[in-house]
Amino acid sequence: MKWDWHAVSDFMPHFWDGLLVTLQALALGSLLSFTLGLVWTLLMRTPTRWVRWPVGVVTEFVRNTPLLVQLFFLFYVLPEWGLTFSALSTGVFAIGLHYSTYTMQVYRAGIEAVPVGQWEAATALNLPRRRTWTAVILPQAIRRVVPALGNYVISMLKDTPMLMVITVLEMLGQARLFSQQRFQFTEPLTVIGVAFILISYLASLLLRALERRLVR
């Protein structure tokens, strides 16, 4: 087997396209999972059983079925019901939804870790419920969960190649396309492998910086 630098340079334009799609999926998927996860957590804390119960069932279901199955389902079944989205949108939604069922658990733990004295002080000062959440509890809870959320970002990054199965041309999709046309597998796969490591590493540096800022 020989390493072919020409294959690398021929692959690079496709690589950049793929990288852009991977980063888009990662960024939007993360944002969606952070937001939805928080929504699930707060809904699970409402006093109404008729809210908690369906949210609990749905999130349990999503967490315990494979992302791959969810991708296929959303991509091939939803259009039959008249709901059509682009492959990337579907992929972002699937990743965001799937990981929101994990981030909700992280948020819950973060909220429960806020000392009960903080709630009591808020009550003693007569702060409205909503303000207690937004000004006292959530800022403290979220600070605590940044490292755990960061780990899920890395996990999501490693799950983005699954989007290939619903025709999204992210990095692995581009590498596979290139390989099938040129019968050169080593170069494109190595390039995207290195790219995955670099993105993970940069993301972890970013997270550590964020943690340091929050913990002061």
Binding site: E120, A121, A124, N126, A135
Partner: protein, 260 residues
């Protein structure tokens, strides 16, 4: 420097109305009855100290008044208005009259000292940011921490944190200040500063104080009335001179002998 509190409208009456009333209040935690059919009243402006062995229900009274927990039976009124039983909206109104300082300070660690003091006046009393900050700065001067405006609570010593917590409670201009073992979590050398501040507030304002403490010297100094608790009931009450020098109950004598 003054900490304003509203004057009691009925102060002209011969017998001032009770500011706080508990009637036949019972509180149980599981099979354990912490307060047993308790009747208890505090007149406006009085400084009342609750003493007694741990688990005797002293702190529970403060927590009931702050609505941090609910009684199982009984009636609680503040300034003639029901606090329990009462609808949530009513509770919010009545609660404005009450402030509390906690054993573990419970400052908001994600906010500056100044913001700890302005948050509730802005959000609850509807003060403008400037008004609230002016009030906060006055109070920080009172507690001797003007230079700590921008600090985070974690950057302060325990004694400083507790002084901020006292200022935070006063910023709401409550009529009643509940003090729940406010020096118990402090290093011994920091206790005096906090107690001196509270003595000062007790002397210079007409705020009503309800105080749970193990600092008997402090209790003797500031109290108009001392209540001795045991087993969820008040077993003896009287002036500090009477309770500390010549208690009637053996149980009181025993308790004081153990803590003094």
């Amino acid at each position: 420097m003054s900490v304003e509190t509203r004057t009691q409208p009925s102060a002209t009456a011969a017998q001032p109305a009770d500011l706080i009333r508990l009637e036949r209040v019972t509180k149980r935690f599981g099979a354990n009855t912490v307060l047993d059919q308790l009747d208890f009243a505090v007149q406006p402006g009085k400084h009342v100290t609750l003493i007694g062995p741990s688990g005797s229900g002293k702190t529970t009274i403060l927590r009931l008044l702050m609505t941090l927990t609910k009684p199982d039976e009984g009636i609680i009124t503040v300034d003639g208005e029901p606090l329990f039983p009462a609808p949530e909206k009513q509770v919010r109104e009545v609660r404005k009259k009450i402030g509390m300082v906690f054993q573990h300070f419970n400052l908001f660690p994600n906010m500056s000292v100044l913001r700890n003091l302005t948050e509730a006046p802005v959000q609850v009393l509807g003060l403008s940011k400037d008004e609230a900050e002016e009030r906060a700065r006055e109070l920080l001067e009172l507690v001797g921490l003007t230079d700590k405006c921008g600090a985070r609570p974690a950057q302060l010593s325990g004694g400083q944190q507790q002084r901020v917590a006292i200022a935070r409670a006063l910023a709401m201009r409550p009529r009643v200040l509940l003090l729940d073992e406010v020096t118990s979590a402090l290093d011994p050398e920091l206790v005096a500063g906090v107690l001196d501040l509270l003595r000062d507030i007790a002397r210079s304002t007409d705020i009503t104080m309800l105080c749970v403490t193990h600092e008997m010297g402090f209790a003797r100094d500031i109290s108009d009335q001392v209540l001795m608790f045991d087993g969820g009931r008040v077993i003896e009450s009287g002036s500090p001179e009477k309770i500390f020098s010549d208690p009637e109950q053996d149980r009181t004598r025993e308790f004081l002998g153990a803590v003094l």
